[in-house]
Amino acid sequence: MSTTTVDDHHDEHPGFFKRWITTTNHKDIGTLYLLFSLLMFFVGGAMAMVIRAELYVPGLQWVEPGFFNSMTTMHALIMIFGAVMPAFTGLANWLIPMMVGGCDMALPRLNNWSFWILPFAFTMLLSTLFMPGGGPAGGWTLYPPLVLQTGNAFPFVIFSIHLMGISSIMGSINVVATILNMRAPGMTLLKMPLFVWTWLITAYLLIATMPVLAGAVTMLLTDKYFATSFFSAAGGGDPVMFQHIFWFFGHPEVYILILPAFGIVSHIIPTFARKPLFGYSSMVYATASIAFLSFIVWAHHMFTVGMPLVGELFFMFSTMLIAVPTGVKVFNWIATMWRGSMTFETPMLFAVGFVIMFTLGGFSGLMLAIAPADFQYHDTYFVVAHFHYVLVPGAVFAIMAAAYFWLPKWTGHMYNETLGKTHFWLSTLFVNLTFFPMHFVGLAGMPRRIPDYSLQFTEFNTMASIGSFGFGLTQLLFAFIVIQTIRGGKKATDQVWEGAEGLEWTLPSPPPAHTFDVPPVIK
């Protein structure tokens, strides 16, 4: 066939740099995403350590308050856009083509670009810490007028967010095109594995909301440098308008951070309960309902900012409605385990831990949804406890579960089960030690994003700090296990897990670079 194209077809053994920089293979790009995400997980984690070291006891000891604020801001930006989102995209790259029986992602060059924007975007973002005036310090939500006081870092922050947005949008377009167009014959929509379904819906959320964030930060940029007055009342604008536009992106964003996790858990629990997933189609409809509701709840982040009473009520009730489809999901996971022949290998431990602790985070979310109660909770550590419960033992645990679950498939080696279990139990112990006390100090009125606090909060904060150091160190064990598994270990079988079902388990472990060049037959 055609050989007259510019891109090289024949160089099957390129050198190290050429291979990884120019790759269009979904497995290679998936690996790049996952390793990048792991790196950012440690960078963002180091920032969390700075925060917890400063809060170990009251008073100011280690860092300047301004730097503390930029640590909280950067920790969030790095963890959300650098760690969790790329981890999910990496998993999507590795798994979706194999799960739907496609030969690769639909748009391979674009796929490479989606990844290779990220290192540049995050170099730009991290470089702001060394600029006159320091990094962004107004919180990751970038509320004006506070954020407009950022120094030289400001345009760099804005443009790095634009770059991350381009990466996410292009990556999501690729996921949607792959799912809609690369399925093997017979793989109908309602036969697709749930990870594929949740990602299809996540990709839709991303394409719909990332451009809105781009618009919002563009308005910030022009307000600061080009004399527009979108967010200035003097010119007829309103700072609260930014919050509305931001959270129109921001709330779907939190579902972007959790829907693929739902998909992962829906693969792992049936495997180790040795039963098919309970209520497959209700899972699909619940995911779609959550996605729909995510667009009409945003102002629950702004109850105390002020809006008409009908607004408070509408956003309160619509938010509480999300508990219904989420409850369906939790019910289905538990019903899947009911009377199953369960075993508790590391992925299952993380998945069960996810169900329990994510639900805890969901409950505190329900408390926060009640507008009058939120007047008390707003901007306290209770909120910090809530979203860390859904993001750390929620999203991050699901990513860890996925890593243990599919690593044998990707590398052809089994990880060390004892170390894996140790990693799980230490993580679970420390994550609760870190975030559970935050509920108490939050309810007692300790505000977030302040480097100092009243004496009565000392014990709980010291506990949280010790927990966070333990959690941070435990993750070094995770990095060690991953590297060890990549380098060697017991050979994994093709099916890997006794109860595993799905197209990816019919392939060799590790799979060859190109799989399903000829579409598989779907029963």
Partner: protein, 289 residues
């Protein structure tokens, strides 16, 4: 490796265009940031980055066009491109939605509130006493001073006619392509491009009028902000669309596209119609009402 036969899905190997695009785009944005921070080298860096971005974009698309012309893409690849373009345009729609959202928020909520509407009486009496809610407005501080608004029935109405006509001429070109009549195809494209260029010329004239005679500027409060950001981003998209149409015209002149396979043409047509529809929103909500 990627191609086992005439009908397999084409997977390109080892492409340098993405990494070059990332380097170029980063150069452009770092340059722009430095320019905003008044670092002398910023401006040069920005233009170098812009030139690099355009160059590598050209190269990347050139690769795709060559591959397409050599019959590398089967129907399934074509469908991937269709889904890709469709969702890309959807993302663009959402980008404009953010700015339309800002416009509606200002008109329906924030300006009346500053004027004391609803339960916001104290906002008016305590902070902005004497301000009466109206639209258009440059806010209670009257930023930018006295100004005149841009009426709908002068240049903007002409522009609406120009863009709507360009949608028709583009459809004529498309029908020419489908029926393999190259003449209406070529002249339809030429007419569409000319109408697009004419539209942009009118926009430039309108901006000149605004700045020179109406004292209507980007800094004219929230009216100026929404007016120039919405029309400005739209104008940018028209310019990009006109460039894309020009590329398509050159491809047509070289004999590219068949009645059966011409997604490049259709993608640009979709984009052009999208730009058209955004303009109708602008004409109604920014200029007219």
């Amino acid at each position: 490796m990627s191609s086992h036969g005439e009908n397999s899905y084409y997977i390109p190997h080892g492409s340098y265009w993405p990494i070059f695009m990332s380097v170029s785009l980063t150069t452009l944005l770092v340059g722009f940031s430095m320019l905003l921070n008044e670092v002398p080298i910023g401006k040069i860096m920005m233009f170098v980055g812009l030139a690099m971005t355009l160059f590598f974009m050209f190269q990347w698309f050139r690769t795709v066009v060559l591959e397409s012309e050599h019959g590398t893409y089967n129907e399934q690849v074509d469908l991937s491109f269709r889904w890709g373009m469709f969702w890309f345009i959807f993302s663009e729609v959402m980008f404009f939605a953010a700015f339309f959202g800002a416009l509606y928020y200002a008109r329906i909520l924030s300006v009346p509130w500053i004027g004391g509407a609803g339960s916001e009486l104290t906002t008016n009496t305590q902070l902005w006493a004497g301000f009466e809610s109206m639209w258009p407005t440059n806010g209670p501080a009257e930023l930018g001073g006295d100004y005149k608004i841009m009426g709908a029935w002068g240049l903007p109405a002409i522009n609406t006619a120009l863009l709507l006509t360009s949608g028709v001429t583009l459809t004529i070109a498309h029908h020419g392509l489908l029926e393999n009549h190259r003449k209406p195809l070529i002249w339809g494209l030429v007419a569409t491009i000319l109408l697009g260029v004419l539209f942009m010329a009118c926009q430039v004239l309108e901006y000149y009028e605004a700045y020179a005679h109406l004292n209507l500027k980007l800094s004219t409060g929230v009216y100026g902000s929404t007016f120039f950001m919405l029309t400005g981003f739209h104008g940018m998209h028209v310019t990009i669309g006109a460039i894309m149409l020009t590329v398509i015209l050159f491809r047509v002149l070289r004999g590219h596209f068949t009645p059966e396979q011409h997604f490049g043409f259709e993608a640009v047509a979709w984009y052009w119609h999208f730009v058209d529809v955004v303009w109708l929103g602008l004409f109604i909500f920014v200029y007219w009402l």
